[in-house]
Each structure stands twice: as C-alpha cells, then as structure tokens.
C-alpha cells in the first residue's frame, strides 16, 4: 500500500494483492518490456510528500519517472487501472474508490498518458498482476484471472519504429 515497483525483465511479476478502494496503476512500455505498478490509496496528497505512491496526484509522476529510468519510452507508455471498488462505507462514508479512480485519470490526463483499459468500481476486491512480456491481469477474490492487456507479438512500439525508418 502506498508503494510502487518497476520491472524490466521478461518473466518478472509485479503483484498488488487485495485492492479494495485502492487503485493498482500499471504503466507499461510493451516494446521495451518495462512496466511499473503503484498501489494508490487516496486521491489527493494535499501537499503531503511521502510516500509519493500513496496519493494519485503524486503517484503518477513518480511512477512515470521510475519506468522511464528503467528504460521505457514516454510516448509508448500505456496505463491500466485496477481496483477502486466501493467497499465498506465506514468512516467518511464517501466513495473513496471512485474518487481514487477519477484522480488517477486526471493525473494521467495531465501527463498525456493513454489509458489502455480500466477494471474499476463494483464492490469487490481485486488482485492486480503484471507479468512482463506476457500480460496484465485482474482477479476477483476466488475468481479467475481476467487478461486486460497482452504484451503479444505485435507491439505498438515496433510499428512506430518501422514508420520512422520509412521516412
């Protein structure tokens, strides 16, 4: 929770277990086989600086910096959002999950990062898995894994490189 991790080796796996109202935010460069996963807990840091991955507004720039440092190219980055469920309405009784999802979308918009797919909302917890070179999956408690993004043989990055060479 409030943590992030980056991997750049095929077969490496990043996992966020039990995402309730939290968001598992993955940023992927499929061509470079680099991805990062942040476990975002709350929408707004209100100036709080650490831990940066805990809040949507600080987690997005931090995760971008980390995947770029690991060899990703900014223009190839794609985002996957998992989680943001409405669990108990104990406490502030506001829908933290929905606010988290909205805040992550806004922060990605500011950074001009494309959202490939979202698996958010509902009232059940999910587990997010990023398997470098293979896929990104979301799994409900006791359910099967759903594939949300496939690294696949056709990578957008390699297509872009071909276009560049033809010019």
């Amino acid at each position: 929770m409030g943590e992030l991790a980056v991997a750049g080796t095929v077969g490496d796996e990043l996992v966020a277990i039990g995402l309730g109202s939290c968001i598992g935010l993955a940023l992927v460069d499929r061509a470079a086989n680099v991805a990062g996963l942040a476990h975002v807990v709350l929408p707004d840091s209100q100036g709080q600086q650490v831990p940066r991955a805990k809040f949507a507004d600080t987690a997005v720039p931090e995760l971008i910096a980390c995947v770029l440092a690991a060899g990703a190219l900014r223009r190839r980055l794609e985002a996957v959002l998992i989680g943001g469920a409405r669990m108990f309405s104990v406490g502030a009784s506001l829908d933290v999950g929905a606010r988290n999802a909205e805040a992550v979308r806004e922060a990605l918009g500011r950074e001009r990062i494309r959202i490939h797919v979202e698996e958010v909302g509902g009232n059940r917890g999910r587990t997010a898995r990023v398997i470098i070179g293979t896929e990104i999956t979301s799994q409900l408690a006791g359910g099967p894994r759903t594939s949300l993004l496939s690294f696949g043989p056709q990578r957008p990055g390699s297509t872009l490189r071909t276009v560049g060479a033809l010019r």
């Binding site: 409030g2 039990g18 807990v41 406490g91 009784s93 009232n123 059940r124």
Partner: protein, 200 residues
C-alpha cells in the same frame, strides 16, 4: 497524533483495549451460551502497509463486519472472521452461513461486540463513541482492511490499531476485533488517562 505515540501511551491504549474487549467477550459469551477466550490485546501504531500485514495475510479470504464509529473519537470497528469461523458462528445462532440471514446474524454479532466494547471505552474515558449500522462482506483481507484504514488514516501514514482475538472455546472460531480510531481522535482517548499529548 498517532505519529508521535510513546510506549507509555501505547501501554495505556492496550489497557483500554484489554478492559473493553473483556466486556465485549462477556457479551458474546452470553449471546452464544459458550465460553469465550480472549487474547492479550495489541496496540499498534504502524505505517499503513504494515498495519494491513499485521491484520493477517492480505490474500486470505475473510468475512469482515464493519461499523462506523461516530462521536468524540470517530473511526471504525472491524471484525475479521475466517470462513470456517463465520460458518461456526452462524450454526451456533441456528442460521445458514453465506445467506442474507447468515450475514445479518454476523452483523448482529458485530453490533453486540462493537456496542459493548465502545460502551466500556466510553465509560472509562468519558468520551462518546457511538456504533453505526454493521456492514458485512466477504472478500480478500487486504481489500477489506486497506479500504477501512485508508479512510481512518487520512493524510498521515501511521495507522493506530487496537486489536484483540476472541476464541470460542471448543470451536474452530477465532474473531479478530479491531478498533481503528481516526488519526485526530486518539489524543482524546489518552487525555483522560493523564498520558495525553499536552501540545494538542
């Protein structure tokens, strides 16, 4: 603020938890007609991620019974029961587990435990702590605990957890009882005991 809790303050909170959970265990025992064993409670002030780990394996499926706490010391009460424990509680109450009636019976257990715990805490500290309506859900432990803690911790990173374990004698049923006060309310519990933080 829980970020600066001293050992003395944690000891005082542990003692409050000890007495309050004793009262709660007695109520549960009367409700079920069974003996209830009570573990020595813990008072933990931990970073959010560690607080979830302290509650158990985040990947484990559990039934959570949550009650909002309002009044002078807002926060939440959260009970965690493994699936076999939830089935045991339902059968002791004569209802089918995993059904709407079963969940409602578990909610009632949350009500009884939460109300008696908060009452005891109230009368010791002179603070009002009022239980809300119980909500029952079965999901991954990590998802349940993190979602409740995210709201009680707010913008600090330290979560205060007072937890006790209640075991029904002779049955495979362990109930983990947690009080999760919001970050700002903790000092109000400590001040009446003479170990509050004079600064706030």
């Amino acid at each position: 603020m829980p970020d600066h809790l001293t050992e003395l303050q944690l000891d005082a909170l542990r003692e409050l938890a000890n007495i309050s959970s004793g009262t709660a265990a007695t109520s549960l025992s009367q409700m079920l007609g069974r003996d209830v064993d009570l573990s020595v409670p813990r008072a933990l002030a931990l970073p959010l991620a560690d607080a979830v780990e302290a509650a158990g394996d985040p990947a484990e499926t559990v039934t959570g019974i949550g009650l909002e706490v309002t009044g002078d010391v807002p926060g939440a009460v959260l009970l965690l029961v493994p699936p076999e424990g939830a089935a045991t509680l339902c059968s002791l109450l004569g209802v089918e587990p995993g059904t709407e009636v079963g969940d409602s019976a578990l909610g009632e257990i949350g009500n009884i435990l939460g109300a008696s715990y908060l009452n005891a805490l109230s009368s010791m500290t002179g603070m009002s702590l009022l239980p809300g309506t119980p909500q029952v859900m079965t999901d991954l432990l990590g998802a349940i605990v993190a979602s409740v803690l995210a709201q009680s911790v707010g913008h600090g990173d330290i979560a205060l957890v007072l937890d006790s374990e209640l075991d029904i004698t002779g049955e495979p049923c362990a109930i983990s009882f947690m009080l999760l006060p919001d970050a700002d309310g903790v000092n109000d519990l400590l001040a009446p005991l003479g170990v509050g933080d004079p600064a706030s």
